[in-house]
């Protein structure tokens, strides 16, 4: 059964209860923050902050504040999982993508591969951390900690197809149902107020086409293994050919 969480910016008041609840549930320490001109704090995801609320001032006739919750998108075809050499980065049948710290070697291949810049490397432990979609809570029948904490229902959680159907029938525009390179995501964004603006860089700036950051790497590896195999075969054939020629000329 696949689940999904939804962030509805129309309802977000920027209280950051989700940010705090996430820290508490995942037992991440507080971080020293500094003054940030746009109130976003910390200014980006960190190994200890699996989610942040981004504050953005936009001018649209009048000055307006918009909020964007950032966390792992829990991609359908997660590039971080295919890049991970150890199997530490795991996708569950619920659609959650999480790191098993005991398997992570801190190689940061996932950091390289993630088109949303989500996994963060922690110098201290030498491992990578990120949002788990609260898989430990979901399996226990609970809501994700951030969803549970939200006082305004800006965060919604449920079975993926049911959630999508409900939002659509209510007239919401949805981001994340289908996306190039990652298939789609299990974190969705839905709006009525900001239709057409979820992917607008002046507003929320979510990527219309998440970059396939692994680039040619998988093809290069296949090329290497394949052609080296062919070279071994060719060498064996040549060895036989060479010896046959030698017999011939005797």
């Amino acid at each position: 059964m696949e689940y999904a969480s939804v962030f509805i910016p129309d309802r977000c008041i920027g209280c950051r209860a989700c940010q705090t609840a996430c820290k508490i549930w995942n037992q991440r320490p507080v971080e020293k923050t500094s003054f940030s001109p746009d109130f976003t704090n910390p200014p980006s995801l960190t190994p200890d902050s699996f989610t942040i609320i981004k504050f953005k001032e936009v001018f649209d006739g009048e000055v307006k504040w918009i909020m964007l919750k950032e966390q792992c998108m829990h991609c359908n075809d997660p590039p971080c999982v295919s890049a991970c050499p150890t199997g530490a980065m795991t996708k569950t049948e619920e659609g959650a993508v999480y790191v098993r710290p005991e398997k992570c070697i801190g190689c940061q291949y996932c950091v390289e591969a993630c088109p949303f810049d989500v996994p963060k490397y922690d110098e201290g432990s030498g491992k990578v951390y990120k949002c788990t979609m609260c898989i430990d809570r979901i399996r226990d029948g609970k809501l994700p900690a951030c969803v549970e904490a939200c006082p305004t229902q800006a965060l919604v959680f449920g079975k993926k197809d049911e959630v999508i159907q409900k939002l659509k029938s209510e007239g919401f525009e949805i981001y994340g149902e289908r996306l190039p390179n990652v298939g789609g995501t299990h974190w969705l964004y839905a709006t009525k107020e900001f239709k057409g603006k979820l992917t607008d860089p002046k507003y929320f700036g979510l990527p219309e086409s998440p970059a396939a950051k692994e680039g040619a790497l998988p093809a290069i590896r296949e090329f290497g293994v394949g052609v080296a195999g062919l070279a071994i075969l060719a060498s064996l054939l040549h060895a036989a050919y060479w010896r046959a020629k030698k017999e011939e000329s005797k």
Binding site: P85, T86, E102, K103, Q108, E112, G224, S235, H238
Partner: protein, 222 residues
């Protein structure tokens, strides 16, 4: 029978240690390159460590592989520096500048495909291409490897990673051919002895396989 010196002590030393160190770099890089074919390397390296400290065998193995890869990388850089300082001052004597590429390629095919007797210089065009590949390839592997190691920026790392993997792929392919040409063809045995042990070749061998170079050697003797 008199013998002709073709490889210096430094070249013999560098070749031997390049084998060790590039072998180790490939061995420790390959479990990252292809889990399916070389995943076992992680188990081989991880199992003994897991006996002592416990933990996930596969992850431990990959962690050991990473550290060995970095250690080997430092040794590779050291060997490269020695070769650089030993070889650059005598660059005039190198015989690895390609000339008449079309004709040389045809000669190479005549030799390997038609098994004809062909007059080569000190190195045939295949050997020249391989030598340049190794020089440039090792430089690229060192630069891209250092970028992946110290991660100045993730954008650079992504590009370096692709180049590093491409370099490793080409090394794998090239080494298969190089090793085959050296030890798979019995007639080349004297060259293997020269490269690994003595540094010199019987005059007869040179006359037979590299007559153009033999002429050079003779004229230098006069």
């Amino acid at each position: 029978m008199s013998r002709v010196r073709v490889f210096s002590e430094v070249q013999i030393w560098a070749h031997k240690h390049l084998i060790h160190v590039v072998g180790l770099l490939l061995f420790t890089g390959l479990p990252f390159f292809s889990k399916d074919l070389f995943g076992w390397v992680a188990y081989v390296l991880g199992y003994p460590v897991a006996l002592f400290i416990g933990g996930n065998v596969n992850s431990l193995g990959l962690e050991v592989a990473r550290w060995l890869h970095r250690l080997a990388a430092i040794v590779l850089i050291a060997i490269s520096a020695v070769v650089f300082f030993a070889e650059v001052p005598r660059a005039k004597k190198w015989r690895i500048w390609p000339k008449n590429v079309g004709r040389e390629v045809r000669k190479l095919l005549d030799y390997y495909v038609h098994k004809k007797r062909v007059p080569f210089d000190k190195y045939n065009i295949g050997q020249i291409a391989w030598t340049w590949f190794v020089i440039i390839g090792i430089a690229v592997m060192i630069v891209t490897g250092l970028i992946m190691w110290f991660k100045p920026s993730m954008e650079l790392v992504t590009v370096a990673h692709e180049l590093h993997a491409l370099g490793a792929a080409l090394f794998m392919i090239g080494l298969v051919i190089h090793i085959y040409a050296a030890i798979g063809i019995p007639e080349h045995r004297p060259m293997v002895t020269a490269m690994f042990r003595t540094g010199d070749l019987p005059e007869e061998y040179l006359k037979e396989h590299h007559p153009l170079y033999y002429e050079v050697v003779r004229s230098e003797r006069k």
